[in-house]
């Protein structure tokens, strides 16, 4: 297995090279010019030429790429054109952290809600409640995030005024009791974004848990446990749940991908300055270095997450032989 991990890790830089080069080429060969964006409405050709020369935009694209690569290897991801005076790392990592926090909470909620629902559905298998649970979750998955957010915001923020309209203010907020004691509570800013994030995710988790739980429920040791008079909760918790969790590891990657993509709308619609919103702005204004950095970081995170998921799976389930995909 060590060899397999090493092989996968060696593949990572190759992959990042390919990803960065194709992004680079796409951004530069495409029309549009970040210099014209930063120059404002009065655009003097001499100035534009000077800026291009300073940034190296006047050189051949492969050469520009090598220049970028050379800097990137040393940890310098370049400078944003839209946020001058700030390096790309300074710009993207705090925003990534915001999105990551939101994503982590969303992921936890997806699992925390999805798993019990899956177990419940499996227990109710054969009754009409089982398909109803799964059907409802499937329906929730089908509602586009774009459609979920406006009514929620209208209802809870505009009409009832229970929640703030959006923005980002950390995961926790302080709830003041009589203005003296402060207890941290989940920040109300997060409620609507989290609902939007998690609704489409439940079904995947619940369905997978349900399938495994159905199989486990038929296993001898579970039947034995039941016949021994163990309470249902104990059976579920001790025997069914651990087995049902195993395949879930494989969907963590999928769930993450969904959350990353959801970030684009949720952040745009809810006024959260996270990485999704930044990436979209960078793409439309050709902020080359930011585009590159975000895609490369996204790709790396994606690959590493999947590798970790595979490794955990390999550790907990020795039947899975990593690397023997053939045959």
């Amino acid at each position: 297995m060590g060899a397999y991990v090493i092989r996968r890790l060696l593949w990572l830089p190759v992959l990042l090279l390919i990803v960065s080069f194709s992004t680079f080429a796409l951004a530069r060969y495409g029309p549009g010019d970040p210099v014209a964006v930063i120059a404002g409405q009065v655009r003097d050709p001499v100035v534009l030429a000077q800026i291009r020369a300073d940034r190296g935009f006047d050189r051949p694209i492969p050469e520009q790429y090598l220049m970028w690569l050379n800097r990137a290897i040393r940890g310098d991801l370049g400078e944003s054109y839209l946020q001058r005076g700030f390096s790309v790392s300074e710009l993207i990592f705090p925003k990534m952290w915001i999105s990551a926090q939101l994503g982590m909470v969303a992921l936890i909620i997806v699992f925390a809600v999805g798993i019990p629902l899956g177990l419940l559905a499996a227990r109710l298998a054969g009754t009409w409640l089982d398909p109803m649970i799964i059907g409802t979750l499937l329906f929730l998955q089908a509602i586009p995030v774009l459609v979920v957010i406006p009514p929620l915001t209208w209802l809870f923020a505009v009409k009832l005024q229970w929640l703030p309209v959006g923005g980002w203010d950390g995961i926790f907020a302080l709830y003041w009791i009589a203005g003296v004691i402060a207890i941290p509570i989940p920040n109300p800013h997060l409620y609507i974004p989290l609902v939007a994030f998690t609704l489409p995710g439940f079904v995947g988790v619940a369905r997978l848990v349900r399938v495994t739980a159905l199989e486990v429920n038929l296993e001898d040791y579970v039947r034995t446990a039941r016949s021994k008079g163990l309470s249902e909760a104990a059976v579920q918790f001790r025997h069914v749940l651990p087995n049902a969790l195993l395949p879930l590891i494989t969907v963590v990657g999928f769930a993450l991908a969904g959350i990353i993509e959801g970030a684009f709308f949720v952040e745009t619609l809810m006024g959260i300055n996270g990485i999704g919103r930044l990436t979209f702005e960078a793409v439309t204004s050709r902020d080359y270095d930011v585009i590159l950095a975000t895609t490369v970081v996204f790709a790396a995170a994606f690959v590493i997450c999947n590798l970790i998921a595979e490794l955990i799976y390999g550790v907990v389930d020795p039947r899975v032989r990593l690397g023997s995909s053939r045959s």
């Binding site: 089908a142 509602i143 586009p144 494989t250 969904g258 993509e261």
Partner: protein, 320 residues
């Protein structure tokens, strides 16, 4: 939009001939939800196909005297900001969805995905390695970012190319029909939607190759074409259908999302993405909820139907 392809990956359909198709169909027929989904999809797609005939108004016809009106006898689903008939726009948006999903399924899933999957599984060796590594690259790219990037950067290039084509051939109206943006949206989507299909097909082919009937066919000197056409293809057909049904929702959703971001189908062509964009915003929702609810409802219904159908098909093929 990533679609969960996990379930289908685990299926191991037995060898199937014509009669098996009939069995699966019979199983599917018994599932009422699946049939309902088929009907819903059918209605929405029919709306798309016959939009020019069915729509009470042109989707561009404006009436600035009656903007943002709720449903009425003249406009069954109300009007939008420019006083255009929402029902007609919904129908033409369904047409866009229809065109994009069909084109992407045909090109991305069926042709590229299957072709490469078959090739990869059958030939093996460096061909297999190359295809799978290219697949790895695509599947590790953040799909939506790349789609937005591709559409934003190459949009003008494609339009110019099509315009050049018009000039050299004398054909007109291609650009005006919105073809370039359709072309771009679907080719960009195809780029990302072939990988799943190819992987599953390859895995299945690898298994089948070890089977007796293939080895004996090869031993008897059957050409690769014969082996693929008569022995391998029929055996992966169900997988292909499962895979297609699993990706349909993702493809339809992606087009909507791209258009919502302004890099998909261009106005005045109708798209659910553009309609949703107009209706989003809590205050707009407060004042004219139909702007969001009409397209939102249709999209939800369509995606839900795709989900249910995919599920039911999966069950039917697995013998449930």
């Amino acid at each position: 939009m990533t679609s969960a392809t996990m379930d289908t990956a685990e299926t191991h359909p037995e060898q199937m001939g014509d009669s098996e198709w009939r069995i699966v169909w019979r199983r599917l027929r018994r599932k009422r939800l699946a049939m309902a989904s088929l009907v819903v999809i059918g209605i929405i797609y029919a709306m798309g196909i016959f939009a020019p005939l069915l729509a009470p108004y042109s989707y561009t016809q404006q009436n600035l005297d009656i903007p943002r009106q709720g449903p009425s006898r003249q406009h069954l689903l109300g009007t939008d900001t420019l006083g255009r008939d929402m029902l007609s726009r919904t129908m033409f948006s369904a047409r866009t969805t229809l065109i994009v999903t069909t084109a992407v399924v045909l090109s991305g899933s069926l042709v590229i995905g299957n072709g490469l999957g078959l090739l990869s599984g059958y030939r093996g060796g460096w061909v297999d390695a190359l295809i799978m590594r290219v697949g790895d690259v695509f599947s590790s790219l953040p799909g939506l970012v790349m789609l937005i990037l591709i559409n934003a950067t190459l949009g003008t290039r494609v339009i110019e190319a099509v315009r050049g084509f018009e000039r050299t051939t004398g054909i007109t109206g291609l650009v005006a029909s919105g073809l370039p943006s359709y072309l771009l949206v679907f080719s960009a989507l195809s780029l990302f939607f072939w990988v799943g299909t190819a992987r599953i097909i390859r895995a299945q082919i690898l298994q089948l190759r070890e089977r007796d009937f293939i080895t004996s066919a090869e031993a008897l000197g059957a050409t690769p074409y014969r082996v693929i056409r008569y022995h391998l293809l029929p055996n992966v057909a169900f997988l292909i259908i499962l895979q297609v049904s699993a990706t349909l929702g993702g493809i339809a959703g992606s087009e909507i999302v791209l258009t919502w971001f302004g890099v998909g189908v261009q106005p005045p062509a109708a798209s659910f993405g553009a309609m949703l964009f107009e209706g989003s915003g809590p205050r707009t929702f407060q004042q004219s909820p139909h702007l969001l609810l009409v397209p939102g409802g249709v999209v939800t219904l369509l995606l839900f139907a795709f989900n249910l159908l995919g599920d039911a098909l999966n069950d039917a093929v697995r013998g449930r």
